[in-house]
């Protein structure tokens, strides 16, 4: 059994609640659809990276996008993020159809992300890196910030407080003043998550948050992702290779293969989906 096409389901809250009940989703946590992705196709010249993919992300859920290498997962994230512009299809965010936007405009809408290959400012401290995440929230212009007195100072204190709360939340007090280039990989990932959180996102996109981590670091990261979701009610969409992690922490999973969607549903449904099994384990050709 799979979920009914959720774009339609969202129109009808009643159906929705029933479906949630059936799948054991907690109605307390997961709200209506925030982002609806409809029939997206993305081409690079003759290469079709994503072909006619539709799925949605609901308020407050942890949504995973999985698939073998080259399935189009990162492309999908880049489409949501506004870095790529799909040739066909629509993205609806909070009930509005999204036009062609630049990534920074999308960031202002409340969508933040982390990157597969960490993209921090290596020479800057943890604190400063997370501060950059507050950039979209800063109101004073460059002049005031350069003078740094009066309103700009008050504003910085306010931002600093927010950042300190994130540092406390992610338990990285001991590296507050350490340049991130000197930090081990697992901690850099955590700092990157901190920077994304600093923007107080409504939707948080995580591109392979656990790549290259050992078991203990993965456990820590899973805990942080769950805590972010639970404490701030942040909606999270993540790409991840580690199946164990995905199945443990996400509410729903969408599976891509060769740019097509081959499965969508709760972890249990996806696990038993024959197409998904074939895509991961290969299939006998006879």
């Amino acid at each position: 059994m799979s979920l009914p096409p959720t774009a339609e389901a969202a129109a009808d809250d009643q159906t929705y609640a029933v479906v949630e009940e059936e799948h054991g989703l907690s109605p307390r946590r997961v709200g209506p659809v925030v982002m609806d992705i409809r029939n997206i196709t993305l081409r690079f010249g003759g290469v079709v990276a994503i072909k006619d993919i539709s799925f949605d992300i609901r308020e407050g859920e942890i949504r995973a996008i999985i698939g073998p290498n080259g399935a189009g997962k990162s492309s999908m994230l880049n489409v949501i993020n506004g870095f790529y512009h799909p040739q066909e299809g629509e993205i609806w965010f909070r009930g509005e159809k999204r036009g062609s936007m630049k990534p920074h405009e999308i960031a202002k809408q409340g969508i933040a992300r982390t990157f597969q290959n960490i993209a921090l400012f290596k020479g800057m401290t943890t604190l400063d890196n997370i501060m950059t995440g507050r950039l979209t929230k800063m109101r004073r212009n460059m002049f005031w910030q350069a003078v740094w007195s009066g309103p700009a100072e008050a504003e910085e204190i306010e931002h600093r407080e927010k950042v300190e709360k994130i540092i406390d939340f992610l338990e990285i007090q001991h590296i507050r003043k350490t340049p991130v280039g000197r930090l081990p990989y697992g901690l850099q990932k955590r700092v990157e998550l901190g920077r994304a959180l600093a923007a107080e996102p409504q939707l948080l996109l995580l591109d392979e948050p656990m790549a290259g981590m050992n078991v203990e670091e993965k456990e820590d990261m899973s805990r942080f992702i769950l805590d972010v979701n639970e404490e701030f009610g942040t909606t999270i969409a993540l790409i991840e290779h580690d199946m164990g992690v995905v199945m443990d922490i996400s509410d729903r999973v969408v599976v891509l293969d060769y740019g097509r969607k081959i499965g969508d549903g709760t972890p249990d449904e996806v696990r038993t989906n024959q197409d998904v099994i074939d895509a991961y384990l290969g299939v006998a050709h006879d």
């Binding site: 300190e164 001991h174 203990e216 805990r223």
Partner: protein, 658 residues
């Protein structure tokens, strides 16, 4: 102040002392904690208010006098207050080691019949909830940090902030009840139950009264003239008696301020920011401080490096002269003053020790180089000798007679007796514990009818200085097969003074000669490996490296040479050794939570390695079970090399020394 005097003045229990402090020095800071990057402070008046609200909340939740409240977490002001809040309600706080696994926690919670648990965060709550079905007495769990706990079942789970709010709201209804309970408290009531980490067997609950703690705290604070202008950093486990005496007992008695670090990892930078005047650290912290300092000096510019080594040399000379009660030469005195300006001052500032007036170390033997280094740059580092059963203080160094080999003179009020046959040290003091909770046999074994307590340590009074010297655990002192004396800890300590050796375990009781297991220090040896281009991926690989073996062999050889000089212990030279393939760990039961070697468990666990040592083999294949931090188990396999070491007859050692 005597006990009746304290009772008359309303200072005979912690709750009454808190009220007195709020009255007399209400505006002075009592607690500090670094949070969100800023030091937050609470005055004595505020602490009294918070604690009272907490106590009312606990009563509202149904806490009855005599019940036990377990407290699990790192050093946080709120957790310290909750201990006094429990006492106000007539209950007995039982702090637990926050890093113990759920299994160990279950034993203590069950044994103490804890009614309430106050836990720091989700991690601790999870541990408690995982064993809750084995704890029939447990009624309520309270947590400090709500993060991640929002969606838990809250029927018997509460946020501490809610408990306090509840208490404030119940002020009019429960105030009389609370005031009666506070007034009913007396010095002979049980103040706290502390579980010893236990070098052998299950942990024992040491029952201490308010009189035990407060009289000892008064005596020791008077000894060092501590006042309410002093300050300290509380970073050692709350379940450890030392922390209870320093951060609670002495702080409440004198009214000084106790600060808690932001997190365990930030302790060293918090120390630097805070600059406490009263500081306690086990030798390993002083060692870490010095090791990181030395590593940073290696990377400093040549000029700074030269300056550092030159002035440290000056400080050593001056310290040596002062110790011998001579006046250092005028030139040295001038240089020392210059050094204070250029090197020692900035150095102490960087370590966070520039304001330290009284510094203590205890728990393990401290290396002579280490001890002399801190003293020579002007840190008043002293040693004390104590036990949980004594409310810590048995002996301590007076400011003007500090010597490395001894542990000082008896703390005021303590009597000491040395058993003539066995050499074991006995003491009797106002701080002596009441009993081991629910084990009268163990109590009777340790404490006799006249109140004398056996320390289990062998020692003697130094005739020259009148100070106590401790040799080794009385039960560990043994004989080699040829009848000569064997004091394993003495040798192990000698080995551990080498920066490359983190732990050593020496065997030899009833054997023909001494042989040793060695743990290398990953930080020091790792740094050496880096500088010498030796690649390694794990502790195990580095430990098995032939050049590491050579280094350790040289260290043991030097130890043998110095042992050969000792008339008592020349037979204890180490003939063979191996470097262990894993670090000894408290999670595997090989060390206690305070990092003391559990000799017997190690001997059982690594029996095959001991056989190989004494069996004359050159190498041995072994498999060892290890426990990871999350409680899962795994196996390490390794083939270990065994090496012979040169030993020295007495005469030869003397000749080489000459």
């Amino acid at each position: 102040m005597t006990a009746p005097q304290a009772a008359a003045e309303g200072r005979d229990t912690f709750p009454k002392l808190l009220i007195a402090n709020a009255r007399e020095r209400g505006h002075l800071p009592a607690s500090r904690e670094k949070e969100y990057g800023i030091w937050q402070s609470w005055s004595w008046a505020e602490v009294a208010g918070e604690t009272r609200a907490m106590a009312l909340g606990l009563i509202a939740l149904g806490l009855e006098p005599g019940q036990r409240v377990a407290i699990i977490g790192t050093n946080r002001p709120h957790l310290y207050w909750s201990m006094v809040a429990a006492q106000m309600a007539g209950a007995i706080p039982v702090p637990l080691y926050q890093d113990s696994v759920a299994e160990e926690m279950a034993y203590v919670l069950d044994h103490a019949e804890a009614r309430f648990v106050i836990a720091e965060d989700q991690e601790q709550v999870d541990k408690v909830l995982s064993v809750v079905d084995r704890l029939p007495n447990l009624a309520q769990v309270i947590y400090l940090d709500p993060r991640g706990l929002r969606n838990y079942d809250h029927t018997a789970l509460h946020a501490l902030s809610d408990v306090c709010a509840e208490g404030r709201a119940a002020e009019s209804r429960l105030a009389r009840e609370l005031d009666q309970r506070i007034a009913a408290g007396k010095g002979s009531d049980v103040c706290v139950m502390l579980y010893t980490s236990g070098t052998t067997g299950k942990p024992k609950g040491v029952v201490l009264t308010h009189d035990n703690i407060l009289i000892t705290a008064r005596a020791s604070a008077g000894f060092d003239r501590l006042t309410d202008t002093d300050s300290m950093l509380a970073y050692l486990p709350m379940a450890w008696v030392g922390d209870f005496i320093f951060s609670m007992g002495q702080a409440y008695v004198t009214g000084f301020c106790v600060a808690c670090p932001e997190s365990a990892e930030t302790m060293l930078s918090d120390l630097k920011e805070l600059g406490p005047t009263y500081f306690f650290a086990p030798p390993r912290i002083f060692e870490t401080l010095l090791t990181t300092l030395m590593i940073r000096m290696e990377d400093a510019s040549p000029l700074k490096r030269r300056m550092f080594h030159f002035f440290v040399g000056v400080a050593r000379r001056v310290a040596a002269a002062r110790k011998a009660h001579e006046t250092p030469s005028a030139a040295d005195r001038l240089l020392y003053a210059l050094g204070e300006l250029l090197v020692y001052g900035p150095l102490k500032n960087n370590l966070g020790l520039s304001r330290v007036r009284v510094g203590y170390t205890a728990g393990e033997a401290i290396g002579p180089d280490l001890f002399e280094f801190y003293r020579s740059i002007g840190v008043n580092l002293k040693q004390l000798y104590g036990q949980t059963e004594a409310s810590v203080f048995i002996t301590q160094h007076p400011d003007d007679a500090v010597e490395l080999e001894s542990v000082g003179v008896p703390t005021p009020g303590v009597e000491i007796r040395i058993d003539e046959a066995t050499g074991e040290v006995f003491y009797r003091s106002p701080g002596v514990f009441q009993e081991y909770f629910k084990s009268p046999e163990a109590t009777a074994e340790t404490k006799d009818a006249e109140g004398w307590v056996a320390t289990g340590d062998a020692g003697f009074f130094d005739q020259r200085s009148g100070q106590l010297r401790i040799l080794d655990r009385a039960k560990d002192v043994g004989r080699l097969a040829d009848g000569s004396l064997f004091a394993p800890k003495y040798i192990e300590n000698k080995l551990k003074f080498y920066p490359n050796i983190l732990e050593a375990v020496v065997f030899g009781d009833g054997r023909p000669s001494c042989m040793a297991f060695v743990n290398i220090d990953l930080m020091a040896v790792g740094n050496w490996a880096e500088r010498n281009n030796i690649a390694y991926s794990s502790y195990q690989e580095l430990a098995a490296h032939p050049r590491v073996y050579e280094m350790i062999e040289r260290n043991i050889e030097e130890t043998n040479r110095s042992l050969a000089d000792d008339p008592m212990l020349s037979g204890c030279q180490i003939t063979r050794f191996l470097v262990l393939h894993k670090e000894l760990d408290a999670d595997d039961g090989e060390l206690t939570r305070t990092r003391k070697v559990r000799r017997r468990i190690i001997a059982e666990k690594f029996a095959d390695l001991i056989d190989a040592l004494y069996g004359g083999k050159d190498s041995i294949y072994t498999e060892t079970e290890v426990t990871y931090e999350d409680g899962r188990k795994g196996k390490i396999r390794a083939t270990l090399e065994i090496r012979d070491v040169k030993t020295f007859p007495r005469a030869e050692a003397a000749r080489q020394a000459a």
